[in-house]
């Protein structure tokens, strides 16, 4: 490593059904905001990393060519990263690696999804030759995994409803979030339609359009940045295949290893105590306790107890997704980067109304595929070391 790395610029678009803007203009909203935050122009960037949703979900092939102008990537090396829903997290880490390797001084990491131009859920439900047509969207994949978690942990069913409420309440403090519901109640979640039993409608993420961008740089330039940097204390990614015999998708090995590696780099021995706030990739409410356990923020089978005790709510001792998270806005290609960027905003003290007071160390986390891709970073307000 070349020394400490940091995030010095963060930008994002409003997440919503954004039928009025092109993909390029949506991307540019985040890019402009990230550069303005860092007080930089295109000429200050040496490399661009792009992440987006898988091509069949938005029908855009070669986005690195299509969006070169929108990203200001004229004459610069551009790399596209592909890892399903975690892609934004992987892109952030890849961008940081370029700086660490001495290949770039400042990297612009860009992510987007424009889901309103297609139908994401049914793109995940295509029939395949030689198979019964059993696919029923992403929820159809994750619901059985959730049921298995509930069975193993003995969690009561209100945990899922409570997470759904917490995240939507949090989103009410985030002007960029898609679903902002300060008035949502547990009762309303409980009464919402059952889609993929045990997952209800209000326990599921929306399909959103949105973009995110960050600027990553090394220590020297970070110290000269106009606003406080988010220092990268540890970052890791891990992958596992989707179908090996004996695979545990409730608590995937790759996720556990990924988090352990990042904490080791950050010198964190007791994550639950040493992390002030976490932005986790939670597309269905039950993934909060599941990922708390998988990322080492709770003991196995105990994640739901943190939810039950309000410890992960805004104001708790380990707030999860103060931005509202994936449940409040899911532009898939950008969702992972949004988690990483929101973690950075928290330790920079720039998260606005959803700022967790005194947040010094934060986790940004992303998951992709059938929980096959995992990415996590620990960012802090102080220079690591």
């Amino acid at each position: 490593m070349s020394g400490p790395l940091a995030v010095i610029g963060v930008g994002q678009s409003v997440q919503a059904k954004r039928r009025e803007v092109t993909i390029g203009a949506l991307v540019r909203e985040a890019v402009d905001e990230a550069l303005a935050d860092a007080e930089l122009g295109f000429g200050d960037i040496d490399a661009v990393v792009l992440s987006k949703t898988p091509d069949l979900f938005d029908g855009v092939m070669n986005p690195e060519l299509y969006l070169a102008d929108a990203m200001g990537a004229v004459g610069l090396p551009v790399t596209r990263v592909f890892t399903g829903g975690s892609v934004g997290g992987h892109a952030a880490i890849f961008g940081a690696h370029l700086v660490a390797a001495g290949l770039a001084r400042r990297v612009l990491v860009v992510a987007y999804s424009k889901e309103s131009e297609g139908n994401f859920t049914w793109a995940l439900s295509r029939g395949l030759p030689f198979s019964s047509h059993l696919g029923a969207g992403a929820g159809g994949h994750f619901a059985p995994v959730i049921r298995e978690y509930i069975r193993r942990s003995g969690a009561p069913e209100h945990i899922g409803w409570k997470v759904a409420v917490n995240h939507r309440h949090n989103a009410a403090r985030n002007p960029y979030a898609h679903i902002r519901r300060a008035d949502l109640t547990v009762e309303e979640v409980r009464q919402s339609p059952m889609l993929w039993d045990p997952v209800r409608y209000l326990e599921s993420c929306p399909s959103s359009d949105g973009s995110c961008a960050i600027v990553v740089t090394g220590a020297e330039l970070a110290r000269r940045a106009p606003r406080p940097p988010a220092w990268i204390h540890g970052m890791a990614w891990r992958t596992e295949t989707g179908h090996f015999a004996g695979r545990d998708e409730v608590n995937p090995q790759a996720g556990r290893d990924c988090a352990a590696d990042a904490y080791r780099q950050a010198g964190i021995a007791d994550p639950a105590r040493e992390i002030d706030v976490a932005e986790l990739y939670i597309p269905y409410s039950w993934y909060e306790p599941m990922w708390l356990e998988n990322t080492g923020l709770a003991a196995e089978h105990d994640g739901w107890r943190l939810v039950d005790a309000d410890r992960t709510a805004f104001g708790g001792d380990l707030p999860v997704n103060p931005s509202g998270g994936v449940l409040s806005g899911n532009p898939t290609g950008a969702t992972g980067l949004l988690r990483f960027a929101e973690a950075a905003l928290q330790v920079r003290g720039l998260a606005g109304e959803h700022q967790v007071p005194g947040a010094r160390r934060a986790v940004g986390h992303a998951m992709g595929g059938a929980s096959q891709f995992h990415a996590l970073w620990v960012v802090g307000s102080e220079v690591p070391g």
């Binding site: 069949l56 029923a136 049921r147 069975r151």
Partner: protein, 172 residues
């Protein structure tokens, strides 16, 4: 100069013809289904048994051994109930999509569970395949119409956390 009222959206259909290749490993399993046989294969590296089996064990990356037939019975590892209609849906909701661990295997097969009310399905439910008629048999999981219960759970699955589920030689 008056500008015309802008066009807002444009159609951009994606249409691609592919040849879908099942893979040599998976094809062994699919050909078995055409004969009402559930074929498994053993990994010499980790001693785990795959049904359906790929060509290589995706944890050891070693080629799996020759196929052998399983009795076909199994257990619901977990499931969801698809409860709402959507475009292109084949089955009428609500229906149960389960991950079924066939007896003697260490990975799961996804299929329907029927002949039981969705609210009666539990993790640990013992199931058996219901095959289609001869003229409908195919190299496809559609050769199994669905799985159906063959009794109540034989053990309390909650008492056996997954991480402690024995993983070992296939002769178990």
């Amino acid at each position: 100069m008056t500008l015309p009222e802008p066009v807002e959206t444009t159609s951009s259909p994606l249409y691609m013809n592919y040849t879908y290749v099942a893979g040599t490993g998976r094809s062994v399993f699919l050909r078995g289904l055409n004969e009402r046989r559930l074929l498994a294969r053993h990994c010499p590296g980790c001693s785990l048994v795959y049904a359906p089996a790929p060509e290589f064990c995706s944890r050891c990356l070693r080629p799996v051994g020759p196929p052998f037939e399983l009795p076909g019975t199994g257990e619901v590892s977990t499931f969801c109930v698809v409860n709402f209609p959507f475009p292109g849906q084949v089955y009428e909701p609500p229906y149960v999509v389960a991950h079924i661990m066939l007896d003697g295997a260490h990975n799961r097969l996804m299929h329907l569970v029927r002949e039981v009310a969705p609210e009666e399905v539990t993790i640990g439910l013992r199931v058996e395949p219901v095959w289609v008629d001869d003229d409908e048999l195919d190299t496809s999981t559609t050769s199994i119409r669905y799985f159906r219960p063959i009794g109540r759970p034989t053990r309390d699955v909650a008492a056996v956390p997954y991480a402690q589920t024995p993983i070992g030689p296939a002769d178990a």
